[in-house]
Amino acid sequence: MTGKPHESSITGKLVAVEGLDGSGKSTQVYLLKRWLELDGYKVFFTEWNSSAIVRKATRKGKKRQLLTPTTFSLIHSTDFADRYERQILPLLNAGYIVLADRYIFTAFARDSVRGCDRGWIRKLYSFARKPDVTFYFDVPLKTALARILDGRTRVKYHEAGMDMGYSKDPHESFRIFQGKIYSEYRHLVHEYDFTKIDATEPPDIQQAKVREILETKIDLPRYRWQGPVYPQQNR
């Protein structure tokens, strides 16, 4: 089905961004998307944990704290599979550049911190195509923590890893949890050959680098809309 046989026929390109909360990756992928769509490329943007059907169950599970590390992992893989089967894969087949704000590596990092077996998590997501480029927004843990903890006073229960019982104080728990995720990412960077971006630099500088790298890795003109240009929509 959606496994390897199809991969040769996939003409699109998959670009993922990964990084800690507070690394600024969502801003960067947003700017990337704006650039590509305004310049007339076939581009699609997808976000972690956003499948309409599955999200309802995820929200309930989180709100009522019904989730264990394993069901947390499985429900996110369900969400991912839904977006993958219904959007990411067909759009790649149709020759789109698909931008993913967090991809399977987020699950690799978070779920292993929660105690799931690393091998099992990788097998769970083995159906997913590896990105053509994965930008990793590298930022010192301290900076990422400061950006989140200074910005808003409340961090969500699961974001803070409160389910792990590190600390009763959400901020303290968040610090510990993010620290563990940070060290997972440091392994993933090498394992999956991420393209590192220094996320301490000003946003426009980062974006210039991201665009430059993308142009070297992807033959962009191939992904332009053919025929009449559609009117641009601001979303």
């Binding site: 599955v54 394993t70 069901t71 077996d117």
Partner: protein
């Protein structure tokens, strides 16, 4: 000796297997195979004898059952997504119902388990290795009984009961045939083929479900009797085949007995009738 529990793979993090004192008994089979009837009868039988039981089944989790139901009705999810949704439902029940019950020494009666979910996924084109890996978190049951019923009899029983065939149990989503009757027969054949293939890997007991409920129940009880005496034979049978004739299930016991009931009781009577034949790899 108490047979140690194990997971198929790495399992669920944080579960201490030695604490799982109860027994996990799985009944598998298509709709119309008599599964529910048999489980009800088993439950009565067990509870009459003082064994606390817990029933679990597919799509009964607190976490996602309702959402899964809705998604099924709309038939909007892809095969892999649906497989993972079911895996979530299964795992929620495994962690929050089955494992706690086993810890308390209950008999868990599972109305279907991972095998149906795997068979359904595989006939729809999911790679067998992948779905096996997904379910490597599952606990290896103490016994799995597969009620094999010929597709023709299944049709009869379903129509007699509901006057209509279930969309999913007829494999209508696979669009093999617009004729529901033909699709049902074909789909059930494929599922049975998968069960046969899985039998080698997972080694469950196939029970001829074409017979009367009474005959099926009698066979189930005979098999379960052995397990309840802490002699499922899963591990011991293999290493200790020569001793198997010494094993006999005690036919009556009380709740108070059960603390030491897992210690092997040996009697001189031959126990061919009770010898467990199911084995796991």
């Amino acid at each position: 000796m108490l047979k140690p529990k194990r997971f198929y793979g790495k399992g669920i993090p944080g579960v201490v297997l030695d604490q799982l004192k109860g027994q996990l008994i799985v009944v598998e089979g298509a709709d119309g195979s008599g599964r529910s009837t048999q489980i009800d009868l088993l439950r009565n039988w067990l509870e009459r004898r003082g064994y606390p039981t817990v029933n679990v089944g597919l799509r009964r989790s607190m976490l996602v059952s309702r959402e899964l139901e809705q998604a099924m009705q709309g038939n909007i999810l892809g095969t892999r997504t649906l497989s993972l949704f079911y895996a979530t439902d299964f795992t929620d029940q495994l962690e929050n119902r089955m494992i706690p019950a086993l810890r308390s020494g209950f008999v868990v009666l599972a109305d279907r388990y991972i095998y149906t979910l795997m068979a359904r996924a595989i006939v729809r084109g999911v790679e067998p290795a992948w779905i096996r890996d997904v379910y490597s978190i599952a606990l290896v049951p103490d016994a799995v009984f597969y009620l094999a019923v010929s597709p023709k009899i299944l049709v009869e029983r379903n129509l007699r009961k509901h006057a209509v065939l279930d969309y999913w149990e007829s494999g209508m989503d696979m669009r093999r045939s617009s004729n529901m009757y033909a699709s049902f027969i074909e789909y059930q054949r494929q599922i049975q083929k998968e069960f046969q293939a899985m039998q080698q890997h997972y080694g469950f007991e196939t029970i001829n479900g074409n017979r009367s409920p009474r005959a099926v129940q009698k066979e189930l009880r005979a098999n379960i009797e052995v397990i309840l005496n802490g002699k499922s034979g899963l591990i011991e049978d293999r290493s200790n085949d020569s001793n198997s004739t010494q094993r006999i299930a005690r036919s009556t016991r009380t709740l108070a007995d059960r603390g030491e009931g897992y210690q092997s009781r040996v009697s001189g009577q031959p126990a061919a009738r009770y010898r467990a034949t199911h084995r796991f790899p």
